[in-house]
Symmetry: C2
Subunit: 141 residues, 2 copies
DNA sequence: ACAGTTGTTTTGAATAACTCAAAACAACTG
DNA sequence: CAGTTGTTTTGAGTTATTCAAAACAACTGT
């Protein structure tokens, strides 16, 4: 964990190690969730420090930030692959989606019209399986 | 304008007509921009009313809302086609991008894994032609 | 044209999620 | 171990938006 920070050119500090720990594993966490995880280990850590740490991690390429409309930003440590997200309009659950078609299906023309594309963000909005089940159950009740 | 509202099942009110007028034509407007346009015509209109109007228009399918990370939400009246956006990381300019590949390239599997996709949102982040020109000019100065 | 109903707008306030800045402090360098 | 650079704390502030209650206006049927 510390090594990863060092490699990225970041100073190794306790809040950063704790934040990386909190983000480890699959899934997506809000800044608030990372803050709770970090403070359970390092109670004096401030929320602002967590925002700073997360920004540093994103800058360094150790984390990725996604910012779904209408929800707080989420952070994940799955970086480097061109993967996307699907978000349930009902329960706001976020799940990863691999790029299915071809290699980088979404980055299509990397330069259209003089515009230099650096990142293509794809978000699928819809209804997750659980919420579909719940709503058909409610309808038939 | 009024007919469009009526067709959509909305009551025809002055703020709604003015807001539709403010959104007419190409481009994207913030709620604040719509508010200024509306108040120049109807000075007593409140900002909250504009938010209400915009929400109603989006609900009725007469407008579309996009919510770029780090900027206020934008509204446009180009609806019904599956078009996307490119946003300059530097100047935050937003432009429309037609779906280039195939018919609905981005809606790929409309049902993956039990997840019912209702909308695929694609955003290209990068540097617009103007900002590229400006930055190379600055570099060579 | 008019009263009633339903939905809209005003008014007033509140909130979530961040962001900014200055000072105290801690990691890494040599 | 001293110095430099970058991080974290402390404290405050902001933007974009939402909520709620009351006043009001558009459409419906007569």
């Amino acid at each position: 964990m510390a090594g990863r920070l060092k490699q990225a050119g970041l100073k190794v500090t306790a809040p950063r190690i704790a934040a990386l720990g909190a983000l480890a594993g699959p899934g997506h966490r809000t800044a608030e969730a990372v803050f709770s995880a970090v403070t359970s280990e390092l109670p004096k850590t401030s929320l602002q420090a967590v925002y700073g740490v997360l920004a540093a991690l994103v800058d360094a390429g150790l984390a990725r930030k996604i910012d779904p409309a209408g929800s707080p930003a989420l952070y994940e440590t799955r970086v480097g692959d061109n993967h996307h997200h699907r978000i349930c309009l009902n329960c706001h659950a976020v799940e990863d989606v691999d790029c299915a078609v071809g290699e980088s299906p979404c980055l299509t023309p990397s330069n259209m019209d003089g515009f230099a594309v650096q990142l293509a963000e794809v978000t699928f909005w819809g209804t997750c399986a659980a919420c579909q089940a719940a709503s058909t159950a409610a309808a038939s009740a």
